[in-house]
């Protein structure tokens, strides 16, 4: 099935399993969702459990918080991650601290899904990933997805989790197809990274839509890389990453986030702190440039690190042990 159908399947299976699960968002009911990630749910579960909201992200995100406190397991859809910019308060300053501010009495089993990322021609206000809005928030779990299978398993795990969980869904993957194992076997454990490919020469940490590009780049370059899909970004799986770098002695983070402020710095800094003396080369990040996401297809397709760019940087890194310059430096632009 397609990635977006895996989302539907996860919602459907959780709604079947637990009558307290319900979904809300803009045009998710009658229309089945702007990205068809809730198609058929209204027919199956009715208007009490599948609700179209007004254009009011603050109200329905906050309503998700209140409903979660009062016993439901709401799943909120934020159509584009940017729209949290009008409602971030409810999640970061509110929901994430509710357990803390109630001495553990209250739980907020809320799932907030948001589509993220570039590649679909939506321009600079509908293409950011913006993980940094939510990652420095103790009490909030942040996850992302990269295949139809893990989309299914992660979303189900997020809905089951008793704390608030932000789910970042790479919009550009919604149409991707893949096998999906439904049911308990398809679940994904939150807080655990996935080792996508075992290798000994270098550890590559990535997530979201770049997982596929990294795999392609690794295959093209013939480097024996260990590829880790982080899946849970906060709190991320230090053990899996550290164990891998302890073995490979090298780290590259490939991320859809700007060179400045991107999430990969956290991985690099933590790994360097713990494994400095066993590193055989500088850890580094392959990122997007420090620019708003450009619209023109000719530009947007270069904005995100492409397989050939990743392969080029990896190859240079592995052969010289030095950190390669990104394409824009090679094209004469300073950082």
């Amino acid at each position: 099935m397609r990635f977006r159908q895996a989302i539907v399947a996860a919602l459907e299976d959780e709604m079947e399993a637990d009558p307290s699960v319900m979904v809300m968002g803009e045009d998710i009911a009658v229309a089945g969702g702007p990205f068809k990630t809730s198609e058929g749910l209204l027919d199956k579960f009715g208007p009490n459990r599948v609700r179209d909201t007004p254009i009011s992200e603050m109200a329905f995100t906050g309503a998700g918080v209140g409903a979660a406190i009062a016993g439901l397991r709401p799943v909120i859809e934020i159509m584009f991650m940017e729209f949290l910019g009008v409602a971030l308060d409810q999640l970061v300053t509110g929901a994430a601290k509710m357990h803390y501010l109630s001495k553990g009495q209250l739980s907020v089993p809320l799932t907030v899904r948001a589509s993220v990322g570039s590649g679909t021609g939506f321009g600079s206000q509908h293409s950011q990933t913006l993980e940094n809005w939510v990652t420095a928030t103790p009490g909030l779990t942040v996850v992302t997805m990269s295949t139809p299978q893990n989309a299914y398993g992660i979303l189900r795990a997020a809905i089951q989790s008793p704390g608030p969980t932000m789910v970042l869904e790479p919009r550009n993957l919604y149409a991707v197809r893949g096998e999906v194992q439904r049911g308990a076997a398809g679940l994904v454990e939150l807080g655990k990274a996935e080792v996508v490919r075992q290798g000994t020469a270098v550890t590559i940490v990535t997530m979201g839509q770049l997982r596929t590009s990294v795999l392609e780049a690794v295959e093209a370059s013939g480097i024996d890389a260990e590829i880790i899909d982080l899946i849970t970004l906060a709190p991320w799986d230090r053990t899996t990453v550290l164990d891998s770098v302890a073995k490979t002695h090298r780290l590259v983070v490939v991320e859809e986030a700007p060179e400045s402020g991107g999430w990969g710095s956290e991985i690099v800094a933590a790994v360097t702190r713990e494994l400095f003396s066993s590193l055989s080369a500088a850890p580094f990040r392959i990122t997007t440039p420090n620019v708003p996401v450009p619209y023109s297809r000719a530009l947007e397709s270069r904005y995100l690190p492409q397989p050939d760019e990743i392969a080029r940087q990896l190859t240079q890194y592995q052969s010289t042990g030095t950190v390669p310059a990104p394409w824009w430096v090679l094209e004469g632009l300073s950082k």
Binding site: A59, A63, A67, A70, G71, D89, H99, L101, G191, P235
Partner: protein, 341 residues
């Protein structure tokens, strides 16, 4: 007549229950709230307390009438100016003060503080420090009640100033379109921080804003405990019986400054005095006396409440602080979850 010393030691649910049918208990609670806040103010002045505080003197009638009408299974979102509401709803002065003083016995173990008192037993969520943030959350709780088909009600308490923030508008709209069992209770105390309402809001009758959502509205003299209770009873009853949300505007007045440091130099001359004439505690007392209660007995009740409060302060000051590692408590992660289960 309720015994204060006893009521202090009762559970919050029991402290709530006495208010429904006993006008003297309601007056007693108003004495308690007023006395608590006066003492709190003095404690802050001595530097015994860290941070800030927001007093609700002048707004006690509203708190007590809401408490008299709600069930402990209903749910309330209130604000940083929430001590009066917390005491009225049933929290003991000891629990509230311990939190404000950052003691480990406080309702969040001293981790939340003055702006976040809470008590799950009586449905009081940690009070909200972000203006307007409680409204969507109350709407969401109401959604859960509606969803489950139970007849509980959610109440969002907020100020006049909060009616200018987006969350107010979005929440009323959402509640109206879904006919949620929620009461939006606007405590219009004339000021938002240091600004008089006319400087920030083009209308003074905030209940009129309900028309934007085709929502029923009430306006009531919030200094009058009897009238306020009746208005709230209508709104809560409507919510409980499937009639959807109501916007209730209670006209009150903030006798103290906005927060600790504020002496309210910006008040027009005579305004405070005008409202002090309408002091809700005074009025509730007069109403009781007019109904046959003994003024002397009420005075004795007031001083016994005061004495009990003095005792609470002594006790709370001697309570232990949290230990430093307590700051790691109650932060949910996928890993702690496993540890818990």
């Amino acid at each position: 007549m309720t015994d204060t010393a006893l009521s202090v030691s009762r559970s919050s649910v029991e402290r709530r229950k006495v208010l429904a049918d006993d006008a003297t208990a309601r007056l007693e609670r108003m004495f308690e709230i007023r006395g608590f806040e006066e003492r709190l103010n003095a404690l802050f002045a001595t530097g015994a307390i860290h941070g800030t505080t927001h007093l609700a003197m002048g707004q006690e009638a509203l708190a007590v009438s809401l408490a008299a009408e709600l069930r402990p299974t209903d749910l309330v979102t209130a604000t940083y100016r929430g001590h009066a509401m917390a005491l009225a709803l049933g929290m003991s002065p000891r629990a509230v003060l311990a939190e404000i003083m950052g003691k480990s016995e406080g309702s969040t173990g001293g981790l939340g503080g003055s702006m976040h008192v809470s008590d799950d037993d009586i449905g009081l969520l940690p009070t909200f420090a972000i203006v307007g943030a409680g409204l969507p959350v109350a709407a969401g709780a109401a959604l859960a009640f509606q969803y489950k088909g139970d007849d509980s009600v959610a109440v969002a308490v907020f100020g006049d100033g909060a009616t200018n923030i987006g969350a107010f508008h979005e929440s009323l709209n959402l509640a109206a379109i879904w006919k949620l069992p929620v009461v939006f209770l606007c405590d219009n105390n004339v000021y938002g921080e240091y600004s008089r309402i006319n400087l920030t809001t083009p209308i003074e009758d905030l209940h009129l804003r309900a028309a934007s959502y085709a929502m029923p509205a009430e306006v009531v003299d919030g200094m009058d405990v009897t009238a306020t209770r009746a208005a709230l009873a209508r709104a809560i009853g409507r919510a409980r019986t499937g009639g959807g949300p109501t916007l209730v505007e209670a006209k009150t007045y903030r006798f103290a400054g906005h927060s600790r440091a504020d002496t309210a130099p910006y008040r027009p001359a005579g305004e405070l005095e005008y409202w002090q004439e309408r002091d809700p505690v005074k009025r509730a007392r007069e109403e009781l006396v007019a109904g046959g209660a003994s003024a002397d007995e009420l005075a004795r009740l007031e001083s016994s409440v005061g004495a009990a409060l003095d005792e609470v302060i002594e006790v709370v000051q001697a309570l232990p602080d949290p230990v430093v590692t307590d700051m790691f408590n109650n932060i949910w992660t996928p890993t702690t979850r496993k540890a818990d289960s």
